[in-house]
Amino acid sequence: MNSTQEKPKILAAQIKLLERLSNACAVSGDEGAVRKIVLEQIKYYADQINTDALGNVLAIKHGRGRNRPKVMLAAHMDEVGFILIHDEGGGLYRFNIAGGIDTRNLAGKQVLVGPEEAPGLIGTSPIHLTSASDKKNGVPLNNLRIDIGPGNTGKFKIGTRAAFATRFSRLGPSLRGKALDDRVGVASLIALLQHAPENIDLMAAFTVQEEVGLRGAKVAAHTFNPDMGIALDCTPSLDMPAWDGRENVLYRSKIGLGPAIYVGDGSTLSDPRLISLLRKTGDEENIPYQLRQPGLGGTDAGAIHLSRAGIPAVSVSVPGRYLHTPASLIRLKDWQNSVALIHAALTRITLELLKSPR
């Protein structure tokens, strides 16, 4: 058995890599910093590596033998963040949001601006000078500014991206970082590519612009033309207790319960054959998993399944709390189980899987 046939493991080295990936700034449309790390990590592990017109990294690791299914795995490199839209002078910039961020998370946070990751901050009026109604209403986006310091007047041009500054850290059984959505998927995909099962052709798409409309995955799936696709993402766990003690039944997913298999979301109804493959794999391998509650939201699977004449697709996500805020939180165990589940499922994939009608 050669090294690539061993099961991928998520240990100290992989956590270290996730730290680098999470700390890197790659707001949608400006994914270069993460792409650089990805290319460095997969260099020796793929048979073909290509960066396409949008900036997706497309890598193929061929298996052995005949009738190999072509399986596309997608993880998005981009993160939610900010784009500077107006220079007010004095180091102050108006900005807009790339992707979905609840603006109530913005005031009082540090940010990193531009490719050089220059320090900046988002302040707000002093509480002493703020009316009760303004305090209650919160600060609308058009009243917030990114402040890079009066000494840096005019340093950045309109269109420069900025990201949350939160550094990655380990919190007991959990991992905390600004961009675990979806750097955890990127780190998983790197590990899977480095340990690609030989029964398939693994087509790894490190995609761009997921947070602004699944754009990278759309063209990546077209280029790859795979038999099926799996999106590796990070899914919201809205699993906190309700204020009045009611049972929280709309949690989407819960951290600590294992990878979340998507049944359906706002972008696709997952292919049932792939759902049952994943569930069967989890049951047989004793890998915990959960079904993500159907509802809104979308992953790269939504773009993959509409590519060309249609491609069977599903999402498997690491459950994460507080996604799209300055710091999200996942359980290490959930990440490990996600990688284990996907790897085990990949080894079971044959072309027969898709012979029966959906």
Binding site: G108, K109, T124, G149, N152, F164, M240, W243, N248, A327
Partner: protein, 359 residues
């Protein structure tokens, strides 16, 4: 400038929430020990350092008071492994969601994160607006049983953002209010090491300013200074703060005039600053200054007080922003003013009727 920046960075890195100032006091004790002749701690925790003057005893004394406490949070409950918190001082709920914090527990410092619960778990009036503190959680990432064994109600929670250097003298950090002033006082003490001064100088780092100016009230009683200068921060103009209530950063400290400011001491500072060509600004407050001066001036039989303020942006947020040059200007001003105090200065502060009308 680098020395002051390094000092301020170090001062903002140490916790010291109101009523729990022991760590910052320890740091200041180490810093002030070589700069003063005597150091003692008041019964409620304020640090008093004396640098003796050269006048014959009984010497007049000037107190420079800066509060060392900072605003923060305290654990008030635990639910499903998540923490509920309450505020210490004037916390702005708008800046809390998404904020990284440190929980100071008996098992050591633990990282945490203030989080906005999902809308469907909140009452109707909290779903889209600023969420009241009582509905927010702090997540430590630990499992519920670990949380119960490590964290207690009453554990302190501080903002854990590290200082960031924005260049050209601008520094952002939590607790710039009021460590900027503590830094100015410390720098003034350093300058005084090589200067002769006739008056005794009391340096005070007061406690519990953010919850009611309590440290200053008791320090004034304890030290009975001939006069007192309070250094605090004030509103710098910037996003969300403009107009007459604000002052510009990098144009020097402000001299604040209002009921807690002795008008003659105020004029004396203005004359001195003008003579020394140290830039300064003026700020008028109609009722309360909101600083230690309000309580200092009414301690014991009353104290002559004066307020010097350093303009900062984003006060009471974790990203307070200060210009280090304003701290250095304040230090030069304080040290220089002390140096030129002579034995007759108190006479010059007497009210008109005491001096028979005109001076």
């Amino acid at each position: 400038m680098e020395d002051t920046k390094t000092l301020l960075t170090a001062l903002t890195a140490v916790p010291g929430l109101s009523g729990h100032e022991s760590l910052i006091r320890k740091q200041l004790t180490d810093l002030w020990e070589p700069l003063t002749d005597e150091l003692h701690t008041s019964p409620i925790g304020s640090l008093h350092g004396l640098k003796k003057g050269s006048s014959p005893v009984p010497r007049p004394s000037i107190l420079i008071a800066t509060h060392m406490d900072a605003i923060g949070l305290m654990v008030s409950g635990i639910e499903d492994g998540l923490l509920r918190v309450t505020n210490i001082g004037g916390i702005d709920n708008r800046v809390l969601p998404g904020l990284t914090v440190t929980i100071h527990s008996q098992s050591g410092d633990l990282p945490g994160l203030v989080v906005l619960p999902p809308a469907h778990t909140l009452p109707e009036d909290q779903k889209t607006s600023t969420v009241d503190l009582k509905y927010l959680f702090v997540d430590t990432g630990l499992l519920p049983r670990e949380v119960s064994s490590k964290i207690q109600i009453g554990d302190l929670v501080t903002f854990s953002l590290e200082a960031m250097d924005l260049g050209d003298g601008y520094l952002t950090a939590p607790a710039i209010d009021n460590r900027a002033s503590v830094a100015a006082l410390t720098e003034a003490l350093k300058i005084l090491q090589t200067r002769k001064h006739r008056w005794d100088v009391w340096a005070a780092a007061t406690v519990q300013e953010e919850v009611g100016l309590y440290g200053a009230q008791t320090t004034g009683f304890d030290l009975r200074p001939s006069l007192a200068v309070v250094i605090d921060v004030t509103f710098g103009s910037g996003p969300g703060a403009a107009g007459y209530e604000t002052l510009d950063m990098d144009k020097g400290p402000s001299f604040d005039i209002g009921p807690s400011t002795h008008p003659k001491l105020y004029e004396a500072f203005i004359r001195f600053a003008a003579k020394q060509e140290i830039p300064f600004q003026r700020y008028a407050y109609p009722r309360s200054s909101g600083t230690d001066a309000d309580k200092l001036q009414i301690s014991a039989e009353g104290v002559i007080t004066m307020i010097i303020s350093i303009p900062i942006r984003y006060m009471h947020t974790p990203v307070e922003l200060v210009q280090v040059r304003d701290i250095q200007r304040t230090a030069r001003l304080i040290a220089g003013f002390i140096e030129q105090l002579d034995d007759d200065f108190l006479e010059s502060l007497k009210w008109e009727e005491e001096t028979g009308g005109a001076r």
